[in-house]
């Protein structure tokens, strides 16, 4: 095996094999964006799971009183019935004051006294083994109550679909950034090879194989990309850590809760950048050398 990069020996490629300074900047920016996308996806996933968890832990029951029964009495009876169902942690009838308090911001004070309000029961489910909507409906029917159960499955589905979409978009952004990095490396490799055509020919005529020459470029660009990736990811980590500190416990915003643990994921960024660069540089160099006579 030809040793082209032994310790203590000078590199066979000149320092500036072709536009490397700008390449460092480009890859650092791409890795910065990839880091933001990755942490954004983690935060979105965490937020979606939190919201879905909250929705999964609750159900709302609307009670329609019989002609011989008042609304509050029907709601109280429903709450009592539901409290006895397996998988229900707590069931509480919502009184009119609480219902008005919920509606006040939307309809105002003036119309509230005359507004017919539904009689609701708020059900807190056992998070480990929550009761299903059919079991709640069945219990209410057996108690002779006319009621409908909303277990928030519609909203929960929407939230989970949204979270999946955000994660997929972040993943797609990550892949596009990786592709852009590979394209930049491939372009730089071609430019470097064009700029160093005389060096390559000299190495080749002195017995260097195509693989050995390609390894010079892959080592050069692999180290360069890993360094630039570390700079980009480091900058992103600093920025995200600052946002986390500013935002307190909830991160910058409760809608996208950042966690310090997410920053560990950024360790992979320089490794991935280096791997993409090694692959892109090697394939490009071998393809270009293969086209030579």
């Amino acid at each position: 095996m030809i040793g082209l990069m032994r310790n203590g020996q000078p590199e066979l490629l000149p320092r500036e094999a072709g536009g490397e300074r700008w390449l460092v900047v480009v890859i650092a920016v791409l890795c910065f964006l990839a880091s933001i996308a990755a942490v954004g996806a983690l935060a979105a996933d965490r937020a979606a799971h939190g919201w879905a968890g909250h929705l999964r832990a609750e159900a709302t029951v609307q009670v329609r009183p019989r002609v011989d029964e008042t609304g509050p009495a029907a709601a109280a009876r429903a709450a009592e019935t539901l409290a006895g169902v397996k998988g229900v942690a707590e069931a509480q009838a919502m009184d009119r004051k609480a219902a008005e308090a919920l509606l006040r911001p939307w309809v105002g004070e003036a119309v509230l006294p005359d507004l017919p309000l539904p009689y609701l029961v708020v059900v807190r489910l056992d998070p480990k083994a929550p009761a299903s909507a059919p079991s709640l409906s069945r219990a209410l029917a057996e108690a002779g109550l006319d009621a409908s159960v909303d277990d928030h499955s519609l909203w929960r589905g929407e939230v989970e679909r949204s979270a999946g979409l955000i994660t997929a978009l972040a993943g797609a952004a990550f892949l596009l950034i990786a592709a852009a990095t590979a394209a930049a490396i491939a372009y730089a490799t071609r430019a470097g090879m064009a700029a160093q055509a005389a060096v390559i020919e000299t190495l080749s005529l002195n017995g260097a194989s195509d693989g050995a020459i390609a390894s010079l470029f892959q080592q050069r660009f692999g180290v360069l990309a890993a360094t630039a990736g570390a700079a980009g990811a480091g900058l992103a980590a600093l920025m995200l850590a600052a946002l986390r500190l500013i935002g307190g416990e909830g991160g910058l915003t409760p809608a996208l809760p950042l966690a310090f643990g997410d920053l560990l994921a950024l360790i992979a960024c320089p490794l991935l950048a280096g791997a993409v660069a090694v692959l892109a540089a090697r394939l490009t160099a071998l393809a270009k050398l293969g086209g030579r006579r």
Partner: protein, 246 residues
């Protein structure tokens, strides 16, 4: 003769070091540079290749280093047909050659020592194993005090001597030189010629392309002349040389 050549390749009893049969070559759509060239260089032979500028001397050397492939005919090196040699097999063949380019082809970012050591480094030898030989070779070509000098700081003659040191340091079996004494004064030129002759006596096949026919005649070796893309032998007669030209 100094030590640097003490390990030169042994004479090879195998077939000719170089054999060309009906070789034709040209660049793009332009007229052929070489036409139906037939040539045999036995192992251990020493030849000058002369001819006017543009006669095809450098093109012939490019074919022999496999930097270009012929459009017609066949080329054999060390008894192996290399006309369509797969690219992956070329490096091993090139490590058996020492090539001196007219434009030196030195690596400007490497010191004189590292330039001279390049073939040995590419062949996988350890610096500890070749450092003394490389230093000795550089001393012999008059660059012993410039081991760390970068090529851009060297004169034309120094660059040429460095290029020669690099070409012969690995004791190649075939030495191809394109105007190897073009940038040095006459005493150094004759000293370098003695180096080639010593390597030749130790078994290396030598082919030197030069427009300096007087130098070729002084050497007393076989002289081949390229003219109009065709090859002819002038003097002295030898068992080696061009074969029947069509």
């Amino acid at each position: 003769m100094p030590d640097p050549i003490r390990r030169a390749a042994d004479p090879d009893s195998a077939p000719d070091a170089v054999r060309l049969r009906g070789v034709g070559f040209g660049y793009g759509g332009r007229p052929a540079v070489l036409r139906d060239v037939n040539l045999s260089l036995p192992n251990g032979s020493f030849h000058f290749l002369t001819g006017p500028s543009g006669a095809g001397k450098s093109s012939l050397l490019r074919l022999l280093t496999l930097a270009a492939r012929p459009q017609a005919g066949r080329i054999s090196l060390f008894g192996q047909d290399v006309t369509q040699l797969p690219r992956r097999e070329v490096p091993a063949l090139r490590r058996r050659m020492g090539v001196i380019f007219q434009d030196f082809r030195l690596l400007d970012h490497l010191s004189a020592f590292d330039n001279a050591a390049l073939p040995l480094r590419l062949a996988g030898e350890r610096p500890a194993d070749y450092a003394a030989d490389v230093q000795e070779m550089l001393r012999w070509v008059g660059l012993g005090g410039r081991l760390d000098a970068l090529p851009p700081t060297l004169s034309g003659g120094e660059k040429q001597r460095l290029a020669i040191a690099r070409a012969v340091v690995a004791r190649p079996r075939l030495i191809l030189a394109d105007e190897p004494t073009g940038s040095v004064d006459r005493p150094m030129g004759e000293k370098l010629m003695r180096l080639f002759q010593s390597l030749n006596k130790l078994g290396a096949t030598v082919l030197i392309a030069s427009h300096d026919e007087a130098l070729a005649e002084r050497s007393g070796t076989a002289v081949l002349r390229l003219e109009g893309g065709r090859l002819a032998q002038i003097a002295p007669a030898s068992s080696a040389g061009p074969e029947a030209q069509s």
